[in-house]
Symmetry: C2
Subunit: 143 residues, 2 copies
DNA sequence: ATATTTTAAGACCTTTTTATCTTTTATTAA
DNA sequence: TTAATAAAAGATAAAAAGGTCTTAAAATAT
């Protein structure tokens, strides 16, 4: 459904949204251990997201990863977008050339509406919005 | 979303449902060229599906792959099931231990409807039912 | 200034997925 | 019964995804 890379990244970004701030930066190791994913692999993902300004980072003592207010106002889809790209949401599920209602593949009408809904949910809601629900105890990050 | 293997297999099985019969078996090469996927790779997939009785095959001249009436009455999900397995539809999209409405991950409610509906559509409709729509010109297999 | 901390960068390894090729076996038709 | 045909089986190879490690660079505190 999503690549492991995207899964780890969404988890990590939401962890940072809940736990970190400009004053409380968090190291890659701490994030990885908290969400239970391989540390060096996650570190790479966080570096990529930082380079693309989806999250923020600072080197040195007291440094680490964190989310600025600007970062938190990004839509959650931007995490997936910068790691997997959006092709998954654009292409035909069966790999046909164009996905459209005009020339639909056999499972187009079974799948397309929900593909779109999933994409819209991730595209319309900010990282902060998802984090709020975690803070409220409506949804959960770890086990 | 689905693996290439599953995509190819669904395409091929529906092609066979539309084009083949006990009297008109079709070689792996012809199927692969018709749906535009790599021949030897598809041949392996068809062999696997035949071994698992999702499709039928016969060796020798006039041999090839085809769908028996019994095959056609299988649900389309069985193609995916025998190639990718069903874990994709059962597991939490973010990889959390259990996917449930009780302890939902942050994107559970955004994604779960898509996962479930897609699974239900493929689980409730037979291969023949999808093939009928292709024959009627309601949906399409190639480009 | 210097030592320390932590990200950044990039090389490297492993596993899984995708793809190909060759040999064997079963079936049919002549 | 022999030649031709096409799947079955299995070995192999290439590419992508997943994961690790080492070194460099930046920031901080002493
Ligand atoms: S045409 Fe296949 S999903 Fe739209
Ligand atoms: S808990 Fe994550 S999708 Fe259900």
């Amino acid at each position: 459904m999503l690549s492991s890379a995207s899964k780890y990244a969404i988890n990590a970004v939401l962890y940072l949204a809940v736990e970190s701030s400009e004053d409380k930066k968090i190291g890659a190791k701490e994030v990885a251990e908290a969400i239970g994913v391989p540390t060096p692999f996650l570190a790479k993902l966080l570096q990529n997201l930082a380079k693309k300004n989806v999250i923020s980072s600072l080197k040195g003592p007291k440094g680490g990863f964190f989310l600025s207010e600007e970062n938190k106002s990004l839509k959650l889809i931007s995490v997936v977008e910068h790691i997997d790209g959006l092709s998954k949401f654009e292409e035909c599920v069966l790999g046909l050339k164009n996905c459209s209602n005009d020339k639909p593949c056999p499972i187009h009408f079974s799948v397309q509406p929900f593909k779109n809904t999933m994409f819209d949910e991730l595209s319309n809601n900010t990282i902060e919005a998802f984090a709020v629900k975690v803070r409220n105890g409506e949804t959960f990050l770890h086990y």
